[in-house]
């Protein structure tokens, strides 16, 4: 009896996404090693920097739950950053820029979705190729030189605070709540879960599999566009390198958050804490003076350990 109880408790623990443990461990480490960093203002600034990643993750978790992946976010961010900062469209208002960005994200998301769901092309290849095409296109247009400045209104909006919390962070939390409600309250959430659990069974149960995958990719494109707007506002200048490592990091944060590749499991808050863990990790590495190679190694090991933790769970369900 005691053994089964312990087993059940162990199983419950193993069901908790690794992100929560990683987050707790990093928070304690930071509090012990650098107590003066545990300050709402300083943490707020660091968390504000991670918001583009957090928003990108909202799309990533959706497509990863339907057994797909989206690596085109880097290209989308670069393209949107380019046409906001290049001065190609002088005198355009902020609202129009936002509309253009969202249209771009929706179009690219639709393309990804149709290629993956209808043509059944490997999602890794399609989204990587789309990213390569967009990055090359932007570098061709800008001849590899950083374009101009971002209109000041973006930076102003980025620096505002509501009730002491930076607006970008609020936007991220609001979008996360929306996504959580969308997945738990709407039929679409059930479709996502069933497609991720078993594609064939979902098909024969009358779930519109292809449509679900396409919609997931469209939403991922939309999230990438919003992430691009926040990222552009945060750096306030044009760049030809911005956001290129974000898609990979978003996959890592999503896995840390308990969404498993090729399985329909996972929630929204696990990946949310996965992103926060990355924010803490960056703070910790920066304050401890870890240099660039060390950061790469630690980042790789954390992704690996999270994946191993989850892989062991799959092995003995």
């Amino acid at each position: 009896m005691a053994v089964t109880l312990a087993d059940k408790a162990w199983q419950r623990i193993r069901r908790i996404p690794p992100a929560y443990f990683v987050f707790a461990i990093l928070l304690v480490t930071l509090a012990v090693l650098r107590p003066h960093m545990m300050n709402a203002n300083i943490l707020g600034i660091f968390i504000r920097q991670i918001v583009p990643l957090g928003i990108l993750v909202l799309g990533q978790l959706l497509v990863m739950r339907v057994r797909s992946i989206d690596l085109s976010g880097g290209g989308i961010i670069l393209l949107i950053n380019y046409y906001i900062s290049s001065g190609l469209f002088p005198g355009t208002s902020m609202a129009l820029f936002i509309a253009m960005a969202i249209a771009t994200g929706l179009i690219i998301g639709t393309f990804n979705g149709i290629m993956i769901a209808k043509r059944r092309v490997s999602a890794v290849i399609v989204t990587l190729a789309v990213s390569i095409v967009l990055v090359g296109f932007v570098q061709y247009l800008s001849s590899g030189k950083p374009p101009g400045d971002v209109p000041a209104i973006f930076a102003t909006a980025y620096n505002t605070k509501l009730a002491g919390v930076p607006t970008p962070v609020l936007l991220w939390i609001a979008l996360t709540i929306l996504m959580a409600l969308f997945l738990s309250r709407m039929v679409f959430g059930r479709f996502v879960a069933s497609v991720g659990e078993n594609l064939t069974a979902a098909h024969f149960s009358g779930v519109p599999v292809e449509r679900t995958v396409i919609v997931a990719h469209i939403l991922a494109g939309l999230m990438a566009a919003i992430a691009a707007l926040v990222q552009t506002a945060s750096i306030a200048v044009g760049s030809v390198r911005v956001g290129l490592d974000l898609p990979i990091l978003s996959v890592a944060a999503t896995i840390l958050g308990g969404v498993v590749f090729g399985r329909g499991e996972g929630g929204v808050w696990g990946p949310f804490f996965g992103v926060l863990s990355f924010a803490l990790l960056f703070i910790l590495m920066t304050t401890l003076g870890v240099d660039e190679p060390g950061k790469l190694i630690i980042q790789g090991l954390i992704i690996l350990l999270a994946a191993i933790f989850y892989g062991m769970r799959i092995a003995k369900p």
Binding site: V121, V124, V126, L128, V130, V209, P293
Partner: protein, 331 residues
């Protein structure tokens, strides 16, 4: 073809359609990329005078060789439905090791041992710890890149003379890279298409693509061991490509392998190998790598901006994979 057509149900297709679509064959769609390669070569020989010169052709081979070697290695893991994203880092790592001050007879075996160890770790993490190949090799990419940057933060150092001579020298008037190519192709052909190991890889990949992972196992294929060996092979080929590149650039460079894994995957995909596993052929991969090299060479000869070259490569990849349809959806 409408879904109700009987061909779609039985999977029977006329031979010419098989060749054109690659469906229902084990070798994948390699005829179309061959036509593309020939079309590019023909177009270049007509428009750019210097294309057909012996110098340029040998240059083309030298340029294409690292990609051909890496892509062949990558093919071993793609055939079993995996992916190895760490090969680019392994290439940079190899050049960094070779540029350490040391005798060639120690450095070259060390490079292969380290690469095999990286591949073995990838394989163990994937087979024993049930981590998805993309994640396992992605984290390996970070770790190896980090170690490379500690070893050699910026490019520099000199690689052993033997390595340089093996790339820049010539025998009987034929540049040595040609012999590299012949040797690599013979070995890879024997291993992939002429050995039990290769056959088992195709069996495992076919099983995974069809969603029945246990079937090859029940027929006596040691799945885990073969998958592990495939990742070791892939890493060793990447190390070989790294040695070739080190000989060409004469120094160690932590960034030389950057994004190489993507080029390799593109070459394999262009060559008709299915990324879901079980379908593919060595000649397809070589053709795919040649298409990429011809494109780069041709666009350099005709002064196309290097930035738009990336876009064109991506569009070709999209076109080629869009033309192959498969059953499995997702990754």
């Amino acid at each position: 073809m409408p879904p109700s057509s009987p061909d779609r149900l039985t999977g029977m297709k006329p031979a010419y359609l098989k060749l054109l679509t690659g469906q229902g064959t084990r070798q994948g769609l390699w005829s179309l990329p061959l036509l593309i390669a020939l079309a590019i070569a023909l177009g270049l020989s007509l428009t750019a005078q210097q294309f057909t010169s012996a110098d340029n052709l040998f240059n083309l081979i030298t340029q294409a060789m690292p990609l051909i070697i890496t892509a062949i290695g990558q093919m071993f893991v793609i055939v079993i439905g995996g992916l190895d994203l760490s090969v680019g880092s392994v290439i940079s790592f190899t050049t960094a090791i070779l540029a350490l001050d040391g005798p060639a007879y120690l450095l070259i075996p060390a490079v292969f041992l380290l690469a095999a160890a990286i591949g073995a770790i990838n394989g163990i993490v994937i087979t024993r710890l049930n981590v998805h190949p993309i994640i396992a090799t992605l984290s390996m990419q970070y770790v190896v890149l980090g170690i490379t940057r500690i070893l050699r933060p910026v490019s520099g150092g000199t690689v052993p003379d033997v390595v340089i001579a093996s790339v820049s020298g010539s025998l009987l008037g034929i540049p040595l890279p040609v012999f590299w190519g012949i040797a690599v192709l013979l070995v890879a052909w024997k291993v992939l298409h002429g050995s039990r190991f290769g056959l088992h890889l195709f069996a495992i990949g076919g099983g995974i693509a069809a969603g029945m992972e246990k079937v090859p196992h029940n027929f006596g294929v040691a799945e885990r061991r073969n998958i592990l060996l495939a990742y070791v092979t892939c890493s060793c080929f990447a190390a070989l490509a790294g040695i070739f590149l080190a000989g060409r650039i004469v120094s160690g460079d932590p960034n030389v392998g950057l994004l190489f894994e993507l080029d390799a995957i593109t070459a394999v995909a262009i060559g008709g190998t299915q990324l879901s596993g079980g379908v593919g052929a060595l000649h397809g991969t070589v053709i795919g790598a040649l298409v990429m090299a011809l494109l780069a060479n041709g666009m350099n000869l005709t002064n196309v901006s290097p930035f738009i070259q990336t876009t064109i490569k991506g569009l070709i990849l999209l076109l080629v994979v869009g033309l192959q349809s498969r059953k499995r959806m997702g990754l």
